[in-house]
């Protein structure tokens, strides 16, 4: 898993960080007050303190984007939501989360069908940018309206299947959870507690 994910994780994290990193570097290096001037561009001085601050901020940003990226790459959203439901999350909340995830490909599929139907009636969806923009309205209207009209019937179909029944559901599916995974989670929780404790007691050097 590490071999398969590590490369993509670094790429994704770098891409996630890049837009903010550029502005952080520019703002921090050239506007942060400092005594050691490295070089000057017009009215702006690049300082050692600014470079130091930018470096530390970038490390934090990269750490945050790496954790988000790692979660996204290693966790199947549906499994995650259902496991949360098993651990007490409301079935309604789980449904909303899952239906939102499922809605995107369904909308894309619907849009493709409607685009094909509109093309068959002569709508230009592959010409110039102007022609495509003109074709957007006849496409977007039916996609949105048909989605909305289906919502009521879909919610009725769910009610018919007792979705509104209060209380817990016994889920068919259980996420595999090995002893090794349990141990890793316990270690991570202990590490988090240690990090917070260290920060409170000033055991670790405080970042500027």
């Amino acid at each position: 898993m590490i071999a398969g994910v590590a490369g993509r994780l670094v790429r994704i994290s770098a891409l996630l960080t890049l837009p903010i990193a550029i502005s952080v570097i520019l703002v921090s290096v050239f506007t942060r007050a400092g005594t050691h001037v490295l070089f000057t561009i017009g009215p702006f001085d690049a300082t050692t303190e600014g470079v130091d601050f930018a470096g530390q901020t970038l490390v934090r940003l990269f750490a945050i984007s790496t954790s988000i990226g790692l979660f996204g790459l290693t966790t199947e959203p549906r499994s995650f939501v259902l496991d949360l439901e098993r651990r007490g999350l409301s079935p309604r909340f789980a449904f909303v989360a899952l239906a939102t995830l499922e809605a995107v490909p369904a909308m894309v599929e619907r849009a493709n069908i409607i685009a094909s139907a509109q093309r068959a009636r002569g709508l230009d969806t592959e010409g110039s940018v102007r022609a495509r923009l003109r074709g957007l309205l006849p496409l977007a209207g039916p996609v949105v309206l048909s989605s909305l009209t289906e919502v009521e019937e879909r919610s009725l179909a769910l009610e018919v299947r007792a979705f509104g029944k209060p209380g817990r559901r016994e889920l068919l599916w259980r996420m595999p959870d090995s002893t090794a995974q349990l141990a890793v989670r316990a270690i991570l929780v202990l590490a988090l507690i240690a990090a917070i404790g260290g920060r409170i007691t000033n055991t670790f050097p405080r970042l500027p």
């Binding site: 549906r78 009610e159 299947r161 007792a162």
Partner: protein, 272 residues
Amino acid sequence: MLQLSGVSYRYAGYSNEVLHDIDLRLDDGEIIGLVGPNEAGKSTLCLVASGLAPASIGGSLRGSLTLDGVPAAGLATHKLAERVVIGFQNPNTQRSGIAATVFEEIALGPMNLGLPVAETVERTRAAIARLRLDDLIRRDPQRLSGGQAQLVGIASLLAMQPRHVILDEPTAQLDPAGTRLVGEALRALATTGTSLLIAEHKTDLLDGLCSRIIAIDGGRIVLDGPTATVFDDPRLAALGVEPPARARLARALGDRGLEGSIVEDALAGAAS
């Protein structure tokens, strides 16, 4: 027993009623076919008989719906779902949108009822077997053909094991083999005491399945009687409802001075 007494219904935001003074009694194990032209009120009658109108979609209802002697008015929708279910014509809206496999899709209803896992699985397997969906159980419900999705939608309702089933054009997207399969499954379901109300344009399906046919037009019941009687009634064609092939053939033979019972005998012979 499902009973509608003096029911009239008006959709929210509309001034005119779309159903007028409907009296309908659906006994345990009985299958009633509902026919009529487009806009006659078939789908509305299905919604009212399922208790969803007005409980979920609003509107105003006069008269009453009782389910096994219990007034439906005031019952929570999940309580209604334990007694009566409805299947819609469009299988895409029947799909939950959250199940990864057909098996999970069919199991959703029993799971929502709070049943133990073993019973949910048992009911799901029974529904799958009844509609011969074994080959589809691992498939993504979003990647099914219209006919397959319709069968999965019906199986999802059967897995609920309700006392009453309302179906609004359950075979609209099915080929003849799929239609026959659904017919067999519904007939088997009725033998367990489940009552069924089926709105359907395919009168051939209803002819072999139902003991009674109700024809509605303009929101009123205009014909109500044993299947053969209603389907042989010349007023049916005037409503825009095509009688089943058996009735048309018998009439054509009768018009030419031949015994209509020849068709009955031939059909009975073919069935045996």
